[in-house]
Every structure is written in structure tokens, then in C-alpha cells.
Amino acid sequence: MKIEVRALSKYFGSVEAVSNVSFTVKEGELLGLLGPSGSGKTTVLRMIAGLESPSSGDIFIDHVRVNDLSVQQRNIGFVFQHYALFKHMTVADNVAFGLSIKKWAKREIHQRVADLLQLMGLPGLGGRYPHQLSGGQRQRVAIARALAPRPSVLLLDEPFGAVDAQVRQELREWLIRLHDELAVTSLFVTHDQEEAMEVSNRLIVFSKGRLEQIGSPAEVYEDPATEFVARFIGSMNIVEAEVKQGVAHVAGLEFPAPDFPDTQRIQIGFRPYYIKLSEDTTHFRLQARVRHVYFLGVAYRVEIETESGLILRSRMNKEEFRQCRFEVGQPVSYAITHFRILPQDHGTPSPAMGIPDSPLTP
């Protein structure tokens, strides 16, 4: 265990920015802190770095409680959202800064800087100034500078927030490779769920200062622990249904909900690819009409309107789409194969359920 955070809370005045958060980061892991802006993830990162002090709770780095250690003593590398490169220094001087503070010998500094610039794919740029670099290059310099003094952990605040979309993709792949090479324990903050899914080994989802879920990208996607996670990660159809005798009803749809009392309203969620469509209106029991077809490159999204007026999103790959060729206005039959009853306000999540129903005509 490299970093451990226990019952961490942070108040700014009377506002609770971080509320009772606990998690651990394993040695060598690349962990993403994901959440919308203002969800407290950056505050958590800054508390780990020592740039902010917690209101309560403990932080351990390498099994040492670091609450009372200053930033300088924690031996962390921090990559700032807007890089915070020293504008008046060359790239080489930026990277060398931490080493010269630690009083490394001139020759060793020189060697280390050259090695890092090589590793970052920036050879020959040591003499330039930050304003002469592209966004992606500045990002790499910021990472090189943070890595130079051999920190025990690397903390990155929205590392790709300030570069444009195309460079972003390259940087992500580059960061993954870099992490594989160096295996330095890394924690990064992002509000971009796609980025978090792609880059991290595990991710932590934050909302309003609370920790919503920790898990691998697949776990978080397939098994969202809360309604928030379900909505925030990927796309999901969510409907509100009322329970009657163990079955939740909404607009002609029925979902088994055996453990819920009558008249309770519950949130039902299902991913777009769990809606099966057929151009044969007798193939499934439920009827709808195609409202819109979106071409997404690798897949198609078909928006349907059910008989009762509910609008649902279905997703299918190109092969499936080619077989039926849905057109706007066309009547279709559909079935929902899996769904999940979403927990209300941090309740216990229910496991995913399949609906036994299915084709009327086998």
C-alpha cells in the first residue's frame, strides 16, 4: 500500500468540500479520481500533496502519517492543471529546479535532466522557454519536472485539461506507456469519464465531496454502485417506476422488484445495448416506433418512442444495424434484457438483473 487516506474531510468555512473519504492506492498503480467539477477530487489531491491541510482524517504515504509534514518533506511530485511552469526559466532549468534545491551535483543534474528530456520525447528542447512550446510539450515538461527529484508518488491535477482534443489522445497513450515504464505510483484527477476509463488501473468516482465508488473501469461501468455513477459513467436509460405486488410498472413496462413494498417509487436503469430491437413487430412483446437514428462511427444509436410515449436509447453495432436497417418512423418491437434497480441516495445497490421475458415467438 503506497497511499492510504482515512476518513478524510475538508471544510472551507462551513462548506464541506470533502466528506469522510477513505481509500488506498497500491504500489505502482495508476489511479484516477473522477468526478464533475466541484466534487472535491482536486481538494483530495491537494491534501495528499500537503498544499491543503485536512479538517479531519489521516493521510499515509509509505505507511508514514504525513499530516504534519510540510509539502517539501513529503517527497511527492505534483503536476498542476495549468502546468505552473516557471516562465522565466528554460525547460532544462525547470526540470533541474527540484534537483538544485536538493543540492545535487551539477553533473548529476545535467545527466538527469538529459535523461528525462529523452524519456519525455523532448530531446534538444532544453534551451527553450515555456512560451515557445506547444501545449503538449509543456505538459511533458511539467511531468518531467515533477519526476526529476524521484518522488515516491506522482500526483496529477487534470493533466490533460488544458490541451486540445487531438493532443489529448496522444498524451493519454503516452502517459500509460510512461507509467508502464517507470511504475511510479500515480494519482490523477479528471472530470472526463472517457479519459479516466482509458488511463486508470482503478478509478474512484466522486460527487459532492463524497466517494461514490472505487473499482476497475469495467466494474464501475458494469456495476455502478449509485445512481450518480450510473448517470455519470456511460449512457443509461433511467425511468421511475412504481411497485405493485413485487413488480415495478412504468408506461407499460414491467420490471420484477420482489423486495420492494407496494406504492414505492424506484429508479430503474438499463444501458442502451440492453435494449434489443427487431424490425419484426411480433418478434418481441413491446412495441415502439423509431424516432431517430444516430451514426456514431463504430456503432449506431437508435432512439425509439414506445407506445406510451417513453423515449429510450438503444445502441447496436454496425453488423446488427445492417441486418435490420431501421428507418425513422418505422414500427419495431423491442425487449429490455437487463436492468438494475438504482439505489436511492447512497443506499445499497441492487445486483444487475436479467428479465426472463423475451421473444413472444421463439
Binding site: V71, F80, F86, H88, F97, G98, I101, Y129
Partner: protein, 294 residues
């Protein structure tokens, strides 16, 4: 040519014509006048004891003003940006006042408060400090009119620094003192230099406030601008020209030096021609934004 192009050309000609007539023409007039009787005459003129004394006094007073303004300007900018205290907004609004107050009124205010008839002036006089009709008075007047320069050029840079560069230095192991000297100071240096040089240039040419507090004692408290005025009044354009040209040259040299010093690091050195009238001055002025700290 399209109508649009004709309009553009007409506008351009009018603007260029106006600027050339209003600004360049008078400058060439003084340029011609100064060397009309040859360089030796020019050098003789500024070698006149009274002219020489005026020039030396002006440069001395301007340098003292610049140093005091730099120290207190830096302190004020820092305090106004980084500290929160009662009266901060009031002080911050006051900073711009010297821009709005006529310089002559500034001179009169300083003469009134530090003159021998006021309690403060009398008290200072008893302590052996003669402010009025003396160098301290000249410096005070120059300080009044130049006060906003350093503060207003440092404030935005200090705010823009937003502490994240300092935080970056902390995460790399730097102590607050190291971060201040190695990160903060170099980052605000262009702003500081701008303030310092503008203060110097403004102090060199100051007239309205100084003419009141300095008296007009030749060889003792007569500054260059007052000397020039006296020469004009006594119909000696030649003497006025020589001193004017020296003041102008020192001002322009100072501004050129400022441009060199504040050029963003790593940019090619300018040729002499572009550096005389380069847009760098423009950039510098854009550093001087009228921001209010939050």
C-alpha cells in the same frame, strides 16, 4: 479599388497625417534647433554651470525617487494583493489619485503640508530637516506624481502569479524563502522594471509640482524642467534646447533599456531601429492593467 479599400486608405492617411503633424513635427523642430550652431555650441551650453547643476540635480532627485518608489511600491503592491485588512479597498482606490490630480495642485499640497508654516513642516525644520526649497521637497513632489507606477505595474503580475508557481516550487522541495527569491521575484521582475523605469522617466520631466516645492534657486534647487522654463522666459532658446535635448535623450535611452531588459526571455535581440520605436512599449503598457485585487 472597392469602396471599402478607399475608406480604409482615407482613414489611414488621416490618422498618419495627424500623428506626424502633432507629434513628430515638434520633435524634429527641437532636433534641428539643437544642432543648428554645431555640436560644440551644444556641448558648451550644457557645460554652463547652471545648466549642468540643473541636469545633475534632476537626475539625482529622479534616482532617489526611483529607489524609494521601487521599495515602497513593491511593499504596497504586495500588501494590497496578498493581505486582507481594514482600509485595503480605500488605499487601493487612492493609488490612482495622482493620475487625476493636476501636478500643480500636488505641488501646492506638498508645499502646504511640509512648508515651514504647517505644524509638520515646523516640526521637521526643528529636527533639522528642511523639506521645502530643498532636495527632500523635490523628491516628495516627484514621489507623489510617480506613486502609481510601480504599484500598478506589479499588482496584476502578482495576482496572475496566483501562487501556483510558488506551490509548484514547494512540491519540488523549495522553502518559502527559496520560492520567493527563485520563483516570485524573477516572475515579477518585468513588471517591477517597468514601474521603475517609468518612474524615472516621469520624474526627469516633472515640472508642475516641482516648480512649487523647489523654489527656483539656481545651482541649488533648480531642476532641468524649471531651468528650461526660465531660459524660455528669458528668450534664450539655445540654452533651453540643449537641456531639453539631454533630458529627452536620457528618457528615450531609459525606455530603450527597459525594452531590452523586459523582453521575454529567449527572443531574438532587436535591431537598433526597431528597438527605438518598437511595439514593446505597447506590450509593457498592457502589463499595467488597472486591476483591482479581489
Amino acid at each position: 479599388m472597392s469602396r471599402h479599400a478607399i475608406t480604409a486608405l482615407a482613414l489611414r492617411s488621416a490618422a498618419i497625417g495627424y500623428v506626424l503633424c502633432l507629434i513628430l513635427l515638434p520633435l524634429t523642430a527641437i532636433g534641428f534647433q539643437s544642432f543648428e550652431d554645431g555640436l560644440t555650441r551644444f556641448i558648451d551650453d550644457i557645460q554652463q554651470p547652471q545648466a549642468k547643476a540643473a541636469l545633475i540635480l534632476t537626475i539625482e532627485a529622479a534616482l532617489i525617487t526611483t529607489v524609494i518608489n521601487a521599495v515602497f511600491g513593491m511593499l504596497s503592491a504586495w500588501v494590497l494583493v496578498r493581505y486582507d485588512f481594514p482600509g485595503r479597498a480605500f488605499l487601493n482606490a487612492l493609488v490612482d489619485l495622482p493620475f487625476a490630480v493636476p501636478t500643480l495642485v500636488a505641488g501646492i499640497m506638498i508645499a502646504a503640508l511640509y512648508g515651514a508654516t504647517s505644524p509638520i513642516g515646523a516640526w521637521l525644520l526643528k529636527g533639522g530637516i528642511e523639506v521645502l526649497y530643498n532636495v527632500p521637497g523635490i523628491v516628495l513632489a516627484m514621489l507623489f506624481v510617480t506613486m502609481p507606477f510601480t504599484i500598478r505595474s506589479l499588482q496584476p503580475v502578482l495576482m496572475e502569479l496566483e501562487q501556483d508557481q510558488e506551490e509548484a516550487a514547494y512540491t519540488l522541495g523549495a522553502t518559502p524563502w527559496q520560492a520567493f527569491w527563485r520563483v516570485t521575484v524573477p516572475s515579477v521582475l518585468p513588471g517591477l522594471l517597468t514601474g521603475i523605469f517609468l518612474t524615472f522617466v516621469r520624474a526627469l520631466g516633472e515640472f508642475g509640482s516641482v516648480v512649487i516645492v523647489a523654489g527656483n534657486i539656481p545651482l541649488k534647487t533648480q531642476v532641468a524642467a524649471v531651468y528650461v522654463y526660465g531660459e524660455i522666459e528669458s528668450y534664450n532658446p539655445q540654452g533651453a534646447t540643449s537641456v531639453s535635448v539631454v533630458v529627452l535623450i536620457v528618457s528615450f535611452l531609459a525606455l530603450m533599456l527597459l525594452e531590452r531588459l523586459t523582453r521575454p526571455p529567449g527572443e531574438r535581440l532587436p535591431t537598433l531601429l526597431t528597438s527605438i520605436f518598437s511595439p514593446q512599449l505597447l506590450v509593457l503598457r498592457s502589463i499595467l492593467k488597472f486591476n483591482t485585487p479581489h
